[in-house]
């Protein structure tokens, strides 16, 4: 499974007169890791939702390896090769961890046994195997975040949309997650687009950063350059961003 390339062109969306996303364009190369950052309300999750098919943009396009994504339902987007997590995690609380991941794995599996085998390997990668029989609702937040990623990963995506998966994690937990993503990207070649506020994770993972403010892209490029950009510092990072 190698990564897919994502191409976003001129994406725009207004909600009742409020311009949430305005002419946003960026590219995510196959197998790359790109971070989408910006203040709250900048439109980041809205962009994710449009890519993932939750709602349609007012204008613009998004394509995965050239295949148009706009107009597809969320389940069709998943079949196209995109796995996503939600900003506020949504585990299937009444089911076990193993079942949660297995449900994700069923997408590309021919049988329940195959799905369970795939689920096992994913759970091991994300260090959830020891908790596989626990009810999802009883997990701690970091574990729930891991479950969210595991479930999306089990669907066999070529592009992962990660929405603030580091929020609420301690620095050591962040480092662990970063290592997991780096490994996934290196070994499986999965393309990753992540929304993040935790700059520690952004700088450790991202090969390229897109900065969003008031629905518009105000900067994009290599991390080192972006974090020095005066516009970015003014709107989001502030003068004393310690890295």
């Amino acid at each position: 499974m190698s990564g897919a390339a994502l191409s976003v062109r001129g994406l725009s969306k207004s909600f009742k007169g409020l311009r949430a996303v305005s002419e946003v364009s960026f590219e995510v190369g196959a197998g790359a890791i790109v971070a989408l950052i910006g203040p709250n309300g900048a439109g980041k999750t809205t962009i994710f939702n449009m890519i993932a098919g939750v709602f349609a943009p007012d204008s613009g396009s998004a394509a995965l390896d050239g295949r148009a994504l706009i107009g597809l339902r969320p389940d069709q987007v998943c079949h196209a090769g995109i796995g996503r997590t939600f900003q506020i995690v949504r585990p299937f609380g009444g089911l076990s961890v193993a079942d949660n991941v297995a449900i994700g794995a069923l997408r590309a599996a021919a049988s329940r046994e195959e799905a369970e085998a795939k689920a096992e390997s994913v759970m091991r990668i994300l260090d959830l195997w020891s908790k596989r029989r626990q009810r999802a609702a009883s997990l701690t937040l970091p574990d729930r975040k891991r479950l969210e990623v595991a479930r999306a990963l089990a669907t066999g995506p070529r592009l992962l949309l990660l929405d603030e998966v580091m929020a609420g994690l301690r620095p050591t937990e962040v480092d662990t997650m970063v290592a997991v993503f780096r490994d996934l990207n290196r070994s499986l070649g999965i393309t990753i687009l992540l929304i993040e506020h935790v700059m520690r994770a952004v700088m450790a993972l991202a090969q390229s950063i897109v900065v969003l403010h008031h629905g518009e892209v105000i900067a994009q490029g290599a991390p080192a350059a972006v974090v020095q950009d005066p516009k970015v510092l003014e709107s989001y990072l502030g003068e004393e961003t310690a890295l």
């Binding site: 969320p74 389940d75 079949h79 939600f86 069923l106 479930r151």
Partner: protein, 335 residues
Amino acid sequence: MSLLRGVPRRGLILLALFVAAMALAPLYAGAYLLSVLTLILYFAYLGQAWNIMMGFAGQLSLGHALYVGLGAYSSAALFVHFGLPPAVGLFVGALLAAVAGTAIGFLGFRFGIQGVYFALLTIAFAEFVRILFEHFAWVGGTAGLFLPVSNRSDIDVLALRGTPEMFYYVILVMTLAALALSRALLRSRLGYYWLAIREDQEAAESLGIDVFRYKMIAVALSAALTALAGVFYAFFYNNLFPHQIFAMDSSIELLLGAIIGGVGTLFGPIVGAFILTPLSEGLSEVTEGLKIDGIKQLVYGICVVVIVLFRPEGVWPWIARRLGLDGEARRGDEP
């Protein structure tokens, strides 16, 4: 047998005992007890059919009597007017119910109607059809549809004419078949997807699950199975009245057992039926002597309230825990 894989030994033994006891019932049960058992199994079957839509796929239907009525009326009318035996009529009934369920599901799900609004939609359709049937002369309207009552000692299973024992075994087989089907469904891809939809529709969608399609399957399947109970009802009681069979009270009655026993569990509907039906019958017996109409309903209602407040997840999960049957949280095997 793969259906029984993973079930704890204790559970298998209890299940075997239960099936044996039920299969041998006509030998030790008198006429009255047998009729009560028949009624219990009828509601156990109905509860299971309803449970597929609510317990597995999470869609609350409060108008399921619609499908009972469609099954009953179509098979009965075909029998009365054309002499078609229920063995054939049941397919018509099931198909009709599936179509009705699909229509309601389509209207509901396509337009994003959820939760209590969807439940109210189901009530409205059941009532609507009730009123239609009350004016439908071909099936007797309000005066009702009557099946010719034949000699009760001649057994003709395909025509559902025969002794009380025959009817008992028919409904027993139906109930056990529904149990096996539920178990098979729960362990299938379909079952997993239903549970995901029940838990969180949007999360399920993000995992590649075509929510609309699977919800429709749940409704259609549940409706078709429910219709078969209607077929049984028609040929067992031999009379049908729209205000009885399509009534809101009927819709409520058939789901009480499933909820009391435990929605979404495998044995919940059966346990629920075994609690509520004897309770109802027993109360009838006891209060008959008191000559005060309404006492039975009063006590019945109080019992339901008590169970809802103290065993909100259902009685069966509690019993399962007591009997040591629940094991770990492996959903696929949990009863």
